[in-house]
């Protein structure tokens, strides 16, 4: 992270299942065994009921763009040659929200409310969940 390279995910006991799912091409979030709540970001306990037991639940990977920004400022060496690029706040159909990007990173056709589905992109040898627009399609035509 400090060498200026890509900010690599740090796998811990709590988020390992998320990143292992991504490795396998499956978007998963935690499902609380106490109350059934689906949660992201990964946490050791459920913020709803504070239960410490969970399983990893595959989700559809479909959702909508709650908001987006286009970064022009060169904040970080790994991203400096990619400006301008987008960052999006995605609401998954199943409920949880996450931060990601819509491909292409430089894409200009973003809008709030846009339908998206997850894809798995390669970033310096690490698989990272990103999204593509499914606006105007049924979203089911392209394989991941």
């Amino acid at each position: 992270m400090s060498d200026g390279g890509f900010v690599r995910p740090v796998r811990t006991e709590v988020n390992r299942g998320f990143w292992e799912g991504v490795d396998d091409g499956v978007l998963r979030v935690q499902r609380c065994l106490g109350c059934g709540e689906l949660r992201y970001p990964p946490a050791s306990r459920c913020p709803r009921c504070l239960d410490a037991e969970w399983t990893w639940q595959p989700v559809s990977g479909r959702g909508e763009v709650l908001s987006y920004v286009v970064v022009h400022q060169r904040y970080h060496p790994a991203w400096s040659d990619r400006v301008p690029y987008n960052v999006v706040l995605v609401q998954l159909d199943e409920g949880p929200r996450l931060i990601s990007n819509v491909l292409p990173l430089s894409g200009a056709d973003l809008r709030v409310g846009m339908a998206v589905r997850v894809v798995f992109d390669d970033e310096d040898g690490v698989r990272v969940p990103r999204f593509v627009s499914t606006d105007g399609t049924d979203g089911a035509t392209e394989p991941n």
């Binding site: 992270m1 890509f6 900010v7 690599r8 995910p9 740090v10 811990t12 709590v14 988020n15 949660r39 992201y40 970001p41 990964p42 946490a43 913020p47 709650l66 908001s67 987006y68 920004v69 286009v70 970064v71 022009h72 400022q73 904040y75 970080h76 991203w79 990619r82 301008p84 690029y85 960052v87 706040l89 949880p96 929200r97 996450l98 931060i99 990601s100 990007n101 990173l105 809008r111 709030v112 409310g113 970033e123 990272v128 990103r130």
Partner: protein
């Protein structure tokens, strides 16, 4: 009317700008001495010290130890708190509660930083306990506010030009403030042609970064009436915080800001129509729009038209906002100067930028990405 069980009896401001020979604590001491003088107090009168470490303070959470040693204070209450732009309000509230409870009689709340000289860029990756959002290129404070701006635009038709009117109007106010750092007037065209930082936020949507310090002396209303300067009473106080971020569905709309302001109104026994002047935390222009809505000065979604043309929010308008220039143009003291300007307006000390007959001022702060918020309603006695 109003809570009025504590008051602000002194404010002190150090030099502001780029001050390469100073440290956060040397500036904090300068502000502290100025605040004592403003209140007509001696250091020995101060029995509480609450501090906010600067971004370049090496002591972190132990900041009160170093500053207390520098100031020669052995206080009855002390501590340091880092809640970003909400901290000034929160510390003043803690001081007020301690005074009301009899745990201290006169509390200095102090902040100092050398963010400009020290090169603080406010560019850290945001994120959660488990994953940095830097994985997706999300860095810096602007991106978080830009999410809110973009959604406000999509949902309500708010425009970049409307945000620009906030920048232009705050600069007009700064031009009337001899202590402001950015005093050269700007136009809407200047705003629109300033480079994009994080779309939809341009450079002129962003606050400046500065070195400097501020101290605020809080005491009982009775003691404040013996001070050198006119006392300013605390009528209402409130806080609200969203710590879950992604876990709260409307996080982007800062629902905790509405909570903190409504608590303060209730405590003060007043409504938005009673407020004469407002100092609204403006790390970015969009923040002013959110505060206008959350504080009830306009309905949700109507802040864009409210600020358009600057007519309502400028001096002489229905609700003069950030009359000293704010974080955008006066100096970036993370909301501390918003308190100072509120006090000075209520004392009638503001010369060409004075709001005639200002009697009640709403002061807000917000920090830590989008997460913490505080509000003070201050009442003048001058």
């Amino acid at each position: 009317m109003g809570w009025r069980r504590a008051a602000i009896s002194g404010v002190g401001v150090s030099r502001q700008g780029k001050l390469p020979d100073e440290t956060p604590n040397s500036l904090a001491a300068e502000a502290f001495v100025a605040a004592l003088d403003d209140a007509g107090l001696r250091r020995e009168n101060v029995d509480g010290l609450l501090t906010m470490p600067g971004t370049k303070s090496p002591e972190g959470a132990k900041h009160y130890l170093a500053l207390g040693e520098q100031l020669g204070i052995n206080p009855r209450i002390t501590g340091s708190l880092s809640m970003g732009g909400a901290t000034a309000g929160v510390l003043i509230q803690q001081a007020a509660l301690a005074i009301d409870a009899g745990m201290a009689s006169t509390v200095a709340c102090v902040f100092g930083d050398t963010a400009k000289t020290g090169g603080s860029r406010f560019n850290a990756a945001a994120g959660t306990d488990t994953d940095s959002w830097g994985i997706w290129g999300m860095f810096g404070n602007a991106a978080n506010s830009a999410f809110g701006a973009q959604r406000h635009m999509a949902r309500y038709g708010t425009t970049s030009e409307q945000l620009g009117w906030v920048a232009v109007t705050m600069r007009e106010h700064a031009a009337l403030n001899p202590d402001a750092i950015m005093r050269e007037r700007i136009t809407l065209d200047d705003h629109q042609s300033s480079r994009m930082i994080v779309d939809p936020l341009h450079l002129l949507d962003c606050c400046i970064i500065s070195d400097g310090a501020v101290a605020v002396i809080v005491t009982s209303p009775e003691r404040a009436r013996d001070a050198r300067s006119a006392p300013v009473d605390i009528w209402g106080m409130g806080q609200g915080h969203t710590l879950e971020k992604l876990g709260r569905p409307d996080w982007w709309y800062l629902p905790h800001q509405a909570d903190c302001v409504s608590d303060a109104y209730r405590m003060a026994g007043v409504s938005p129509a009673d407020i004469d002047v407002a100092q609204l935390y403006d790390n970015f222009t969009i923040s002013v729009l959110f505060w206008l809505e959350h504080a009830g000065f306009c309905a949700p979604g109507e802040a864009g038209p409210f600020v358009e043309g600057g007519k309502r929010i400028r001096l002489g308008g229905d609700l003069p906002v950030n009359t000293a220039g704010g974080n955008l143009s006066e100096s970036y003291m993370q909301g501390w100067l918003h308190v100072v300007e509120g006090v000075r307006q209520l004392r009638g000390e503001c010369g060409p930028r004075q709001v005639d007959g200002a009697r009640l001022c709403l002061v807000t702060g917000r920090g830590m990405t989008l997460n913490t918020a505080s509000c003070l309603i201050l009442g003048g006695t001058a």
